[in-house]
Point group: C2
Chain length 213, copies 2
């Protein structure tokens, strides 16, 4: 699962049909891995789903580990793309936080994300690097963005905080509460748009109250 393993194909040429097949394989692998976990997912099932022969998979990916690693890599890249905190340019801190809170609720409550986190948790023991990649692209990145945002706000005197990192970390905790836990171990939790609004507002109000100058 080294970075050098991204592309196993040294002799194979990138024909358009091949590219499409690779994408199909990754998509199929994603479904199978997320549904069954690493151990229980099978290469044959992935091949069948991708409508590709098993040999094709092995000609494009070194082995099952490598395929899983690339699925995670793709998923993390996607996460990174869709999960950002906007800056303060024209908006009030409250509005930015509200937007971020709603974004978190939308993004983290998707079934796909929940399944992804379930599978990932199990594989961290097998390959810790995979967990680190997830953290770097998701939680740590969010935390860093939030910290930067709050640092600016602090310098403007809009808020007070004796530990800006702790304040940043507190925010997602306030927004999600124990919801992520209930989602990971229990039934699907469905929140209406209104409920999300309410939850986001409650978290932002609380955070701002705590950090009032």
């Amino acid at each position: 699962m080294l970075d050098a393993d991204i592309n196993q194909t040294h002799k194979l040429i990138d024909r358009p049909a091949s590219q499409r097949k690779i994408a199909d394989i990754l998509a199929a692998a994603r479904v199978e891995f997320f549904a069954n976990g690493f151990s229980a997912a099978t290469i044959e099932a992935i091949a069948a789903r991708a409508q590709v022969s098993k040999v094709t998979i092995y000609s494009r990916f070194k082995d099952k580990d490598n395929l899983f690693g690339q699925v995670v890599r793709a998923e993390c890249a996607d996460m990174r793309k869709n999960f950002t905190v906007e800056n303060l340019e024209n908006k009030s801190l409250r509005d930015v936080l509200l937007h971020a809170a709603l974004g978190m609720l939308d993004f983290l409550m998707r079934d796909e994300m929940i399944r992804f986190e379930r599978i990932l948790a199990a594989e961290v023991t097998r390959d810790p690097k995979i967990g680190e990649r997830f953290l770097d692209n998701g939680p740590r990145r969010l935390l860093q963005d939030l910290t930067n945002l709050l640092q600016l706000s602090l310098e403007k005197g809009e808020i007070k905080s004796d530990d800006i990192v702790a304040s940043a970390e507190m925010f997602p905790g306030l927004v999600m509460g124990r919801m992520d836990l209930f989602m990971r171990y229990g039934h699907k939790v469905k929140l209406s748009a209104a409920d999300k609004q309410k939850r986001a507002k409650r978290a932002v109000d609380a955070w701002i109250l705590i950090h009032q100058p």
Copy 2:
């Protein structure tokens, strides 16, 4: 993994040696399952670790699923035993919350708990009931105890809240922040006793500030 499956032994007699072996098997199974996950853990490895023959395991437990279920059951019972919120009898709300926060930090940050949650997450898809059992004995129970506590405090006029359940859920979120996430997917996070104190105090102060009458 039905409740009726707790004891598979209808003909076997509970000799003291047998009891000890059952305990050994459960302990060994716990280690193997937590270290490798359900699929990757093997009965033979469990037997070897428990210093017991494979046949003995099968004479006491129906199959691998049943063994895993009982390990989870035992773990949940242990959790329930060790994880309580004291009541308000003689103490101030602040002290009770502080105590609860420290208890949470100690309990949830143990390596064992982290590994347990990792494994469990993966198995929820395979057997949702196992996740429910965990929630009932852990998070839901805590939430209920907290809610009861806060309801009392509310009636005494010590705090204000328009949604006592939301207020209760907010508390663990405030205490743990994203730490549980970083622990689940990343390196071991070690907090000194002083750091735990600091974190607990910060969370309690924040929660009380938010709910000041």
